[in-house]
């Protein structure tokens, strides 16, 4: 006779073995035709002009094919159109009155995932839809520069003409295109309701992968689109898992439970730990356009003197920050444009760590040393300044402590006053409420020209309804002139020359203290081939995932 308790125990052991043994093998088998991405964010939606989260853009890179995209060399290449328009070829024309005309020819053969063709009619309709103030578009910055987008010949739905009402140097970077046949009915009924349209969460795309399911809070599954005209993706499935905690995501990478990560919130230390713990993972440290810096409030009575700002730069040991905190991987910044931007100027004035020079500059500016080792201004006031940043951002808080010590060595008493990111960016910077210094980063793209950062009209004030991002309050007539010139300069060489000149002036005036350029940090399994992150926001690790393959 069998003992019922023993039978039950045996069943439990068998079940445990089944769980412990079978499931990992199921996962291993599936991973050969699947790539699992891990992200520390869940997208808010997948119609990116109505949404704000980078996670959505990363998934969209697989689901939608752009007219024109950036590759890993930061060069433009055509996807759904025949070529990138250029002035030389004549499909980008400058017209009298500062206007322009840009013509795109769509490739035949691209279809939406429901089988309908992708045409110029979709592009012109999308433009009209986004221009409508009732549609919930997040920004219309570029759209406002465009007078119209038309399909001039009804018999040729593959030719799109974009009529610009002002010159814009990046007019050939393509436009957003959505499927008219899917969205138009809802648009005509209620443009404001488009964000709730099923397209937002279950889009009919045009890219190499189509959406299969979105399990809220868990993952998105994509499947290779078998009619993608440039070639069907080599890996059959993509799974995008949302793991909000960076430490837990790191554990998943080490345990090989995700194959690649993007928007992962990893620190350099975490990347190094991943490399050390799992030799099967490649940690990608890609140069990016993320500029970490300290804005100086140049309207402050002490900080309006550029010698004081230069003294601050000399007092801070940025080389040491880069070496000690980032193992030399994140390079010191000397200007506001990163090295890979076309306008980067390597020959600007540089501020090496030199406490002696800092003290001399402060003495020139009228400061004298007080009995407590802190400088006094001409009226006898202690030189106390406040630095603000995002509370809870471990790296920035660490940097603040280092800077505090270094500034104390030249006689400046630095106070730390941090706020949550939503407060810092919601009001402190936007309404210019920081008394002296504020540390944060700008995320830039190849089309960033800094007009909103440095033009005097972009200093947010009540008079201009707080428009602009010139948070330091920098006003410089020659800089304004240069910005006005390069913002409409189509000739790349001339634009670059103007940008370089602007940076020379900027590095002399120093409205911000450049700290370092952050890297774009991603990981991928070493057995995945053709992975080549771009480091650009908007173009994520999966930009070419159609070509990825599992190495046998």
């Amino acid at each position: 006779m069998t003992n019922p308790k023993r039978s039950l125990l045996a069943m439990v052991i068998v079940a445990a073995l089944a769980i412990g043994v079978n499931i990992p093998s199921v996962m291993a088998q599936q991973s050969r035709d699947t790539v699992v991405f891990g992200m520390a964010q869940e997208p808010d939606c997948l119609i990116m002009t109505f949404c704000s989260m980078a996670a959505g853009m990363a998934v969209v890179n697989s689901v939608f094919a752009d007219m024109v995209s950036y590759n890993d060399k930061w060069q433009l290449f055509p996807t759904t159109v025949m070529k990138v328009p250029t002035l030389k070829d004549g499909d980008w024309q400058l017209l009298p009155g500062g206007k322009m005309k840009v013509t795109y020819k769509f490739k035949k053969g691209f279809t939406w995932h429901d089988g309908k063709p992708v045409t110029a009619l979709d592009a012109s309709w999308t433009y009209l839809m986004l221009r409508n103030p009732r549609s919930p578009a997040v920004t219309r910055f570029v759209l406002r520069k465009i007078e119209n987008m038309i399909v001039p010949n009804a018999a040729d739905p593959y030719t799109l003409v974009v009529q610009w009402n002002e010159t814009y140097p990046f007019a050939n970077t393509g436009h957003t295109v959505y499927p008219r046949h899917v969205l138009e009915r809802e648009y005509l009924r209620d443009p404001a309701g488009l964000k709730s349209h099923k397209q937002a969460r279950n889009p009919v795309g045009s890219g190499p992968y189509k959406l299969v399911e979105w399990v809220p809070g868990s993952h998105i599954t994509l499947e290779a689109y078998d009619k993608f005209p440039e070639g069907v993706a080599k890996i059959k499935k993509q799974v995008w898992r949302f793991i909000l905690d960076a430490t837990v995501l790191q554990a998943n990478v080490i345990a090989n439970q995700v194959d690649a990560t993007e928007i992962n919130n990893f620190s350099i230390d975490q990347m190094i730990e991943i490399e050390r713990r799992n030799p099967g993972v490649t940690a990608h440290y890609t140069p990016a356009m993320i500029w970490e810096h300290i804005d100086v409030n140049v309207e402050n009575e002490w900080l309006r003197d550029k010698r004081v700002r230069q003294a601050l730069a000399h007092a801070i040991n940025r080389e040491e920050l880069s070496t000690k905190l980032f193992y030399g991987k994140q390079p010191v910044a000397h200007t506001w444009l990163p090295e890979r931007h076309e306008g980067f100027n390597p020959n600007v004035k540089k501020y090496a760590h030199d406490p002696g020079r800092a003290r001399a500059l402060l003495a020139e500016a009228g400061f004298t040393m007080g009995p407590d080792g802190v400088l006094r201004d001409s009226r006898g006031a202690r030189f106390e300044i406040t630095i603000m940043t995002t509370a809870g951002h471990a790296v920035r808080e660490q940097i603040q402590q280092i800077i505090k010590e270094q500034l104390r060595a030249v006689g400046i008493d630095l106070r730390i006053d941090n706020r949550p990111a939503s407060v810092l960016f919601g009001s402190i910077t936007r309404l210019r409420q920081f008394p002296h210094l504020v540390m944060y980063a700008w995320l830039m793209s190849p089309t960033t020209l800094g007009n909103t950062f440095w033009h005097s009209t972009q200093v947010p004030t009540p008079a201009n309804n707080w428009e602009g991002q010139n948070y330091p309050g920098f006003r410089h007539a020659e800089t304004d002139k240069l910005i006005d010139q390069y913002m409409t300069e189509i000739d790349a060489a001339k634009r670059i020359a103007l940008l370089r000149k602007q940076q020379e002036i900027w590095a002399e005036e120093l409205p911000s203290i450049p700290l370092y350029f952050r890297l774009h940090l991603t990981t991928s399994n070493k057995k995945l081939t053709n992975v080549s992150p771009t480091g650009l926001s908007g173009t994520y690790i999966n930009w070419n995932s159609r070509l990825w393959e599992w190495k046998q």
Partner: protein
């Protein structure tokens, strides 16, 4: 009894109204709003875009107007739309509720089984080595913060010993049927272990002291004197009476475990109400955050009421007035 119930229900409604005002005020007063978040991350947003978006999301109204609009739609059974997900909040919450209840029910069952067994064993072997081990383990379980324990468990059982998944609720693409059931169980092990720990620890302590008290009573001595085997004395006479206070304690503990689920779900990426609340608060998705917070408040009120009722039912000396 009926008067007591009616009075407690009225109290419950007043508490919920008060809490809804408090929660709404706190959420709205939280610095920043969804449009400010969008503006902070996008250098191309201009003031006119911001104004248009604020109007679109109804952020222009005064706080009390927004509250009354929310109350009006809730009374009609409409919890509103999620700004983040673009779907009705009711659907979102119901979907997530299922996952949270799975986690919660499993954790309570595990905590109850282990806690009661360990407590009884500890009481019956008072001052033995096992009793000391159980006591130390119970105090350690009570002292460990959920988020810390979660990360430690992931490191131990998903990274160093790769036995369990480091988060998530399912393996995408797993075949339906038994493989899916096993897959869910496999994903449940770590979050349940973490979520059940504090309940397990406190119920062990309560069960131990309750049992120690009961075994000294005359009726237990009488049962022994009647010649009943020790197993019958313990199971039929001592355990049943010792369990009475524990049952009411469980009802009181459920809201606490539900709140613990917020952290556990966040650490383990378990797509339940807790993770939803975390994302909603970070993304200033007021409708979703209010719905989840209100649900948590409702559960607290209901389980407190159940605890009171259960206590009366279990102990005839309690009278409702």
């Amino acid at each position: 009894m009926q008067r007591f119930l009616a009075r407690r229900l009225v109290h419950g409604v007043i508490i919920l109204i008060g809490l809804s005002i408090l929660m709404f005020t706190l959420l709205v007063l939280t610095p920043g709003d969804p449009v400010e978040l969008m503006a902070a991350s996008n250098p191309d947003i201009r003031p006119e875009d911001v104004a248009m978006l604020r109007q679109y999301y109804g952020l222009d109204d005064a706080m009390y107007v927004r509250y009354f609009k929310w109350v009006r739609s809730v009374l009609k059974g409409d919890l509103g739309y999620s700004r983040t997900y673009g779907t009705p909040v009711t659907k979102l919450v119901v979907d997530r509720l299922r996952n949270t209840l799975t986690l919660l029910a499993t954790s309570v069952a595990v905590a109850f089984t282990v806690g009661v067994t360990a407590g009884v064993y500890s009481a019956l072997h008072q001052y033995s080595a096992t009793d000391y081990v159980v006591t130390v383990a119970a105090f350690a379980g009570l002292a460990m913060p959920v988020f810390w324990q979660g990360i430690v468990f992931i490191l131990l059982f998903a990274v160093w010993l790769p036995w369990f998944p480091a988060g998530g609720m399912m393996t995408p693409g797993v075949a339906p049927g038994w493989p899916m059931v096993l897959d869910r169980l496999w994903h449940l092990v770590l979050p349940v272990s973490v979520l059940a720990t504090s309940g397990m620890a406190s119920w062990t302590r309560y069960m131990r002291s309750s049992m120690l008290e009961v075994v000294r009573h005359d009726y237990v001595r009488t049962a022994r004197a009647k010649g009943n085997p020790e197993r019958v004395v313990i199971n039929r006479h001592a355990l049943r009476n010792a369990l009475i206070p524990i049952i009411t304690l469980i009802a009181l503990s459920v809201p606490g475990i539900l709140n613990g689920a917020v952290l556990t779900e966040t650490v383990f990426s378990w797509p339940g109400m807790g993770l939803l609340l975390f994302q909603a608060v970070l993304g200033h998705d007021y409708n979703v955050a209010m719905a989840v917070l209100l649900f948590l408040a409702l559960m607290t009120v209901i389980f407190n009421l159940l605890a009171d009722l259960a206590y009366g039912l279990a102990d005839p000396r309690i009278r409702y007035d």
